[in-house]
Symmetry: D3
Subunit: 245 residues, 6 copies
């Protein structure tokens, strides 16, 4: 099975880290084809970065779809471009945010999300509402740890994330935690043991869901919301994105 | 990986059929340990059967858990006893109804459920509400095909189910269909091709989700709703069910 | 009028206490027929106890229905087996949890629930969602008083419950309180006077609702969710529960 | 027990009819004190009539409260002035619309409302939303029978109402019907037998709920939404309505 | 353009203050015709005042409508009589509460309301639910400043309101604030600068929305909820309110 | 006042038509600065076109913001890029879809949307959910008229749209209609007269709301969801979009 994992930001080192996390949980025989977007923001923080990440993401999806992959994973916790990507793909497309919410719903009655900066909260709340799983979510919390701090061994990032998880368990009565950033993947297991509740990484969740969808033969519906784009002219710098039908 | 699949009704032939469907999609290396409940109703149709299916179901869960399995699947579309089973299990527990809703949400914006008799609709609607995915559901419809008709090659069951799927696609604008009975598993692929939308079987969905949860190391949360039963005396005919702590 | 009040746990002393509370508010001419479940858990705390309480509860409902009662009350705040009991009964069936929510909605714009242990909160929240009255509920709070402490005159149970009520009034802006345990019935009036808001006991509420339903001639609907169980074989230890139609 | 039943429109013959329906179900020892509003519309159809019915209604509530009654019933299906009346009363106040929704929720999983003219539907929908029971309601339907037609033995009102109930049962899968007009009270029992589902009259429901609230000692909460009006001057024609504190 | 602004309480000095606020933002060419209700409460605090304010309000609406105005504004944050007023008017009718919620939704993802006394909170919450914008609201908070304190230069009203806004921004993550009282209009701009978020006055919002509706030619729908009152007799002191058709 | 109206598709003739509609309702002194996106799809139909329209749209917003405009209007009924545009703008940003929903909510209790092709329905439903006004919406309907047919005088587009409006009024009990395409602006008034309910054009609504927001001094909140993009590198073809801080 070939799973196309695309990092919608343009920082290759992040792609490498995420791909490693994906490969660590992939089933034998699953090949993770990791791609980094070729244009757009170096990291995705908020609606503007999200919007400008879309062309690069969609180019990657289209190319992988043409080459014939079995599934796509969008490796940003904001589920950047999920709906648009699905219009391009026959293969299933899974976002790592949504993947975390679904997996959490299967092992806990209520879950909280612990993310990086508080500016990410509105996007996550909007995604929960769209997914329908907001009713299962007991809160979205920010640890106020920036993504780059996660890379810095001298920072106290881990302890601040852990403290926020503790508050979610005590104050929200969260029964599980979804980590709200791909860069936290390596912390999930240890934090789960520390707090005695499932701590869930979206990258691993997305690999598991993508593999599962492929194995049982499910493809993205082409009726309604995810119908293929209609052929038409595109102008200017993006003219090569025009759907050809 | 060892997955315990328990049929909460006491009809062994149904277990065999469901186990075959599960094995057909299971990954190499996954062992499906199929069990039939030892006490209770021959089929589960409505709240009363559901209630009396619980002791047999929970006995099977407890026994499998003691023997050490990696996950449990409850093979009734009503998700009979899902919450209670989770209190007994460290391993993840997946219901086939809930599994279908989650998988449908990943390949379609809106899905409808097509089930057997209209008396099943209230239970399914209540489960959708509990799962949080009611907002993604465009309708729950009955084909008025009884479970046993599904076994009878001379019946027109398939054509009535297909007609109801057609109505769901046209009238609900359903983008995918979840089949609301384990006994319809063998029809999913052909009906999907006929109608041009994903037609989703809960058994296959549950196998995929259970495998995925195990592979990424997620266990049922023991904080809150699914904490282990407290030790106490149980009276009468069910005294051997008393939790020992 | 004959009202069948069934305690779904198997502790007769609790039944006696609850029956006394029921008789204290019953109208002249109302006979409270109190029954204790003959099999299952000594107390109901969480989903597992709840599931194993069902056969004993349903046996009691069936027996009383056969003898001809006018209404049934399920005397556990979790509303154990409410839906299944309704499939067996022509007479109305009222759960004490649901009764408290409905009565609170008639005397206050918003109410909070104050229950025993925090492990009870998820079940109560699920019941509020199912009843539709979650939007009227300003919070479900645990006093962390165990049921048995309520029986111990030396414990500080009453003061801890009172403190939690105070927090609900101040922090949730609760206008009324529903006491989340049958064992708190005797405290309702005094706590109400202390806090200056209605403090509502589910047992009394259920008696009032059951009497009212009977007096105006309402029976459980047999269309849809509460249709009688279909006749079929039941296997094993529970074979005598098989519906005969 | 003395229950004050106030008809918020100014048509005494309607009061007589509603009072008779109330007395027919009242418990022995319950006295129904029926009052007709002294000012305002002859019938209440829509928001404007509703608004102008309030002073007469509230005068009646204040007078009865001063004389010392045990409960109040507002006998209009629109639940005219329910919140304002509660600010004036220590005794519980029950509206016949809300009463019907609560009682229906106790005998059926889903209920539909069948009312008179379609112009009444928005008010009823708003009340269902406010009560929190909209999730239990499978539809609000108009029979297009005007209130006065209900009084005319030569009209086909009954058959049109019955036809609409039939559609609610078939198309909404309604398990019970709440009749959306006090003037339909005498039809409830026969229509229920005809359709095989509970058909619920709000007047009878309100009597039962009011009696129940009184018997268990519940009064309207004075914290929050229903706190007594603050003393202040009122100008002009309504100056005698000024709260005196 | 002629906009009829009606203060539904009977305190002319409040009308003057509100009219000044309205005129300060009105477009050139817009005439604000300010009216004070001729009967009813001197201020509106809670459901009872609200109910008794309706006849005076509706008389003012009817008179202005007869004289031919282009729009109506109801200048009470409780949106007193909004639905009833719309049945009388062809011209659009805007309430200042609802106006604030709509404008806040256009400049912020989530907004909180900061009002005067906590007894106002339930009415505001009910209005948010009715408007549909409760999902955009991150909280309704009381500063516990009474309306008259707003007029007293020696009071610390402003600092208490500011403190509550600070808590809304920090604790609710409110991105904008709607001031929950017409008497706070003059504080909006300075408080917005102090806290760095939009602080929104309902009076200004209503003027802007009313002007906009008029300019684009929208009138109140006469189908459904806001159909004109049906002609009928009104009794007693309010007989002159009878609709003539 | 200078309002920047940007057509996010790249078809200048559409911009001209929309700008004319905007100017027809703008207040004296309002200048409509119409812009056409310089890159991306010729028309926006579905999620893919929507995604690729974003860079061109955001470039136009940034340029106009730098030149100093008072408000922005995004002239696509899908509200393309509304959240991202708000992160770039101090000035308020209004989408024509959202504008129509808000205006409809002020003149009707319930409204339906009548759009072009059924493939647009999921996007509109998602936007209604996000805006919070889904509860006020009685249905989203497609006339199955393509955008270009609206330009063809020989087509029967108008009669098909009118027929769908008729169905919305009869079957949904819609009290007002929001036209779901900028290209229908010229039909609004005549269709409203034909059907006797407000028929609302989003372009006119957006002009009115933008003018109103400016006149009362409201700017886009910079706290939370719409905080300015953080400075960072952007790669590849879109590197000139990098925020500079």
């Amino acid at each position: 099975m070939r799973i196309h994992l695309v990092n919608p930001n343009t920082t290759r080192s992040m792609t490498d880290k995420i791909a490693a996390a994906a490969r660590a949980v992939a089933a034998p025989g699953t090949q993770i084809l990791a791609a980094t977007s070729a244009m757009g923001p170096a990291s995705i923080e908020g609606h503007y970065d999200d919007a400008l990440a879309l062309p690069g993401l969609l180019a990657a999806i289209a190319e992988a779809e043409a080459q014939g992959v079995d599934a796509h994973i969008i490796a940003c916790f904001d589920d950047t471009g999920l709906d648009a990507a699905r219009t391009l793909a026959r293969a299933p497309v899974v976002g790592i945010g949504e993947a975390g919410y679904h997996m959490a719903s299967l092992v806990a009655h209520r879950f909280s999300v612990v993310t990086t900066l508080s500016r990410s909260i509105p996007v996550i709340e909007a995604n929960l509402l769209r997914s329908g799983l907001d009713r299962r979510c007991s809160g979205v919390r920010a640890s106020e740890v920036a993504v780059l701090e996660l890379e810095d061994p001298a920072s106290d990032a881990r302890s601040r994330i852990s403290a926020e998880i503790g508050r979610a368990v005590r104050e929200d009565r969260a029964e599980a935690i979804v980590l709200g950033c791909a860069g936290m993947a390596d912390l999930a297991r240890a934090l789960g043991e520390e707090h005695g509740v499932p701590v869930i990484d979206g990258v691993a969740s997305a690999v598991a869901l993508a593999e599962g969808l492929v194995r049982i033969g499910l493809a993205t519906s082409k009726a309604g919301a995810y119908a293929p784009p209609r052929p038409k002219a595109y102008a200017g710098r993006l003219s090569d994105f025009a759907p050809r039908g």
